[in-house]
Amino acid sequence: MVEFFQTAIIISVLAGMIRIATPLLFAALGELVTERSGVLNLGLEGMLQMGALVGFLVSFQSGNLWVGVLAAGLAGIILGLFMAWMVSTLKLDQVVSGLALNLLSGGITFYWFRVKFSSAGTQMPNIQIFKFGRIPVLSELPYVGEILFSQHWLTYFVFLGAPLVWYFLYKTRIGLQLRSTGENPRAVDMKGLSVTNHQYGALAFGGFMAGLGGSFLTVASAGMFLPEIQAGRGWIAIALVIFGNWVPWRIVVGAIFFGFIEALQLALQAHNVNLPHQLLLALPYILTIIALTAAAGRSREPLHLGFPYKRE
């Protein structure tokens, strides 16, 4: 057990922490924007899943990983728009719509997977995943170089995205309109703005981010697709938004923490530490439940979150 605490292992855990946080952060940042517009998107899990599949399939067909990533983002946008149609145009119950989206996405991905890859025991093809994007000079720094500057480009993208999301929400005109939509959509409507348009935009963004995050799981991580590869990350991302009190930097911290837990768990398994591996695997899910009870206050929760807006 003592050998576990060697420097090399610690560094790889920390580097893994940032890497594993990536898909969570994609989903959570997207969900933050969506919820700020008043929509609780419980279909996030399904969007991640679709992103994983589309990212894999298109990368495989086209031979180009970035094309796969963009396609995944596009698939996410489509699902986001579909969700928006259900909750913003048809004004259906948001919880049930999200569940429906998950079940639909689960069914489609599972079916697609079976059609393409399980007939007559075809071997699941692997794709060559992204290589790390080592930043010149910075990645040579001791310790920090490995942890912070030798990550995937998608990882840099999402971590830079966090302050951009903050800026968008709090410093721009449309960000103001979006936040108002989530706090009091009637105020926005009476100003002559369209609540629906804002929610469509927010959900398209949320879907795009989820699609990208999902593609990370296949294209930058596993190299192949398995049904349920997203393993509940969509739900954890939603919990992160709550736990982060709808504030970008807290969500980033939360994502990193979960990344840490999973990276730690992987390292413990790899080094045959004497703990039942199922307990380790269950850790993120247990922690999510704890996070939801210890939520340090929901003071910034958008006032109109979860309710469809109807102009009476």
Partner: protein, 520 residues
């Protein structure tokens, strides 16, 4: 952004009305809200829309503002026909509206609320230009307002001014105000009237919606009376008397005040001592609230909305735990008792929001009439099994006794009108002959008939021996019904006075926090 002064390049235009509504009809499922209404509003006039609750005033103005689409009719602005199918169109045409229930974004500042939606391009908001313009407007009308304050920290009167600012900032030519004085003290209402008159002098036209005759006489040039969706008449205010207006409004001779009978009070039933409580945001909402109410007595609680009434109601009913103080009912300490236990101890309550706090709208009438008492005999056997027949019988009895207009007891409650819903709640609460009845804004939104009914029932209960706390923003109601009057301001009871010694002015000052000449 538009100028608030009227353009004078067409002298004839001044004699043409600014706004002309012709044959406007608007229907909702089951009700004809506006029936062939034709009204015109002139340049530089304050035009009152008078009618009781349900007469169609709000519907008419919301149609003007584009919230609703008329079924038929024509609207012309400055002589040209206009199509207003959304608030966006209304704003573009030059119509602004201050809604009865404010449409502000609470966590945002005043500037952010005003600037929202006024810019159609650009990455950033032009807050500096807005700030200057707003400061100018506030200055112009002698209003003091911290432009950076978050709206949820503002008083209701300040919030209303933000709503007005929103419209002025857009540069409207016609401003509609829907029941603006519902949330103001008498003095604040006076101030609002003088501001409106100055706006009129600056060239603005104003439509002022109200059901209070006093206000019509105080502020308007002309008044249009609506009744049950139809326009009864449009008259010059100077040509008409309050009684005539009242008759037009209701269609029969109206008695202005209910004759209060004097009853000797009995023993003390309710005692609240030094109650303290926090609101949803963790701020102090009730500070050292103490009062006592006896049998056969109505204690009126007057105050501007947002000064702790909601929290007091919630503490009394048992939904909000006080942080200090005690509450006793007939000797029992119910400070921390659950709502059910309080009902057992003799508490009855009429909430201010009948739809969200008092009823389950998707339930049938018979299911709602036993909400809260569903575990008692005879409605349940052994507390666990529902006795459908007993409930049905009680429901039918209640419908008859309380004159609830509904085809049957198994009708879904959603279909009932506001007045009938309130009667349903009364039937339920009064069936237990509560020793202590708390009524929070019991006649809000009700037409004259229903209002009279509710008030009469409250007086009946008082006669029967109940101790009643009447929380109301309607000073006339309090003066009419209460034996003693307490005024609440920023969570504190300012004073409790005998009704006989109360006047509008005195109460108004207390409601604004002014006691013995000192402002709090």
């Amino acid at each position: 952004m538009r100028n608030t002064t009227v353009s004078t390049d067409q002298p004839q235009a001044i004699h043409q009305p600014l706004l002309k509504i012709e044959n406007l009809t608007k229907r909702f499922p089951g009700v004809l809200a506006n029936d062939n209404v034709s009204i015109d509003v002139r340049h530089g006039e304050i035009h009152c829309l008078l009618g009781e609750n349900g007469a169609g005033k709000s519907t008419l103005s919301e149609t003007l503002y584009g919230t609703y689409l008329p079924d038929s009719g024509k609207i012309s602005f400055r002589g040209a026909p206009v199509e207003i199918s959304s608030p966006k169109d209304a704003i573009e045409v030059g119509i602004g509206m201050v809604h009865q229930h404010f449409v502000l974004v609470p966590p945002l500042s005043v500037i952010e609320n005003v600037i929202l939606g006024t810019q159609t391009s650009g990455l950033h908001m032009h807050t500096e230009t807005t700030r200057n313009r707003l400061a100018e407007l506030c200055d112009n009308y002698d209003v003091e307002l911290n432009l950076d304050a978050k709206v949820w920290h503002l008083s209701v009167g300040e919030q209303q001014w933000v709503e007005i600012l929103k419209a002025l900032y857009e540069g409207v030519d016609l401003l509609i105000l829907d029941e603006p004085t519902a949330v103001l003290t008498p003095q604040a209402s006076e101030r609002l009237f003088s501001v409106l008159k100055r706006m009129k002098d600056d060239g603005l036209s104003i439509i002022f919606i109200t059901h209070k005759l006093k206000e019509v006489m105080a502020v308007s040039d002309r008044v249009s009376v609506l009744r049950k969706g139809k326009l009864i008449a449009t008259v010059n205010t100077t040509d008409v008397s309050k009684q005539e207006l009242a008759n037009m409004m209701v269609g029969r001779d109206v008695m202005f005040t209910i004759q209060k009978e004097h009853t000797d009070v009995g023993k003390t039933v309710v005692e609240a001592r030094a109650l303290r409580a926090k609101n949803e945001r963790g701020e102090e909402a009730l500070i050292d609230v103490s009062f006592g109410i006896c049998q056969n007595e109505i204690l009126g609680l007057a105050g501007v909305s947002g000064n702790g009434q909601k929290e007091l109601f919630n503490v009394l009913v048992g939904v909000l735990e006080p942080t200090a103080g005690t509450l006793t009912l007939n000797g029992d300490d119910i400070t921390f008792a659950q709502p059910g236990a309080r009902m057992d101890a003799g508490l009855g309550s009429i909430p201010e929001d009948r739809i969200h706090e008092g009823l389950v709208m998707d339930f049938r009438v018979e299911e709602n009439v036993v909400l809260g008492i569903h575990r008692r005999e005879p409605y349940a056997r052994g507390k666990r099994l529902i006795d459908q027949d007993a409930i049905r019988r009680f429901a039918i009895e209640s419908i008859e006794k309380f004159e609830i207009a509904t085809p049957s007891a198994s009708q879904v409650s959603k279909t009932l009108s506001g007045g009938n819903l309130q009667k349903l709640i009364l039937a339920r609460e009064l069936s237990l002959s509560p020793a202590f009845l708390v009524a929070n804004q019991p006649t809000r939104g009700l037409d004259v008939g229903a209002t009279e009914y509710v008030r009469r029932r409250l007086l009946d209960q008082k006669k029967r021996g109940a101790a009643i706390l009447l929380i109301s923003e309607d000073l006339d109601e309090i003066l009419n019904l209460a034996d003693r009057i307490a005024v609440i301001f920023k969570g504190e009871i300012m004073e409790v006075i005998d009704a006989k010694e109360s006047t509008m002015e005195k109460l108004g000052l207390l409601m604004a926090g002014v006691q013995d000449g000192q402002a709090r």
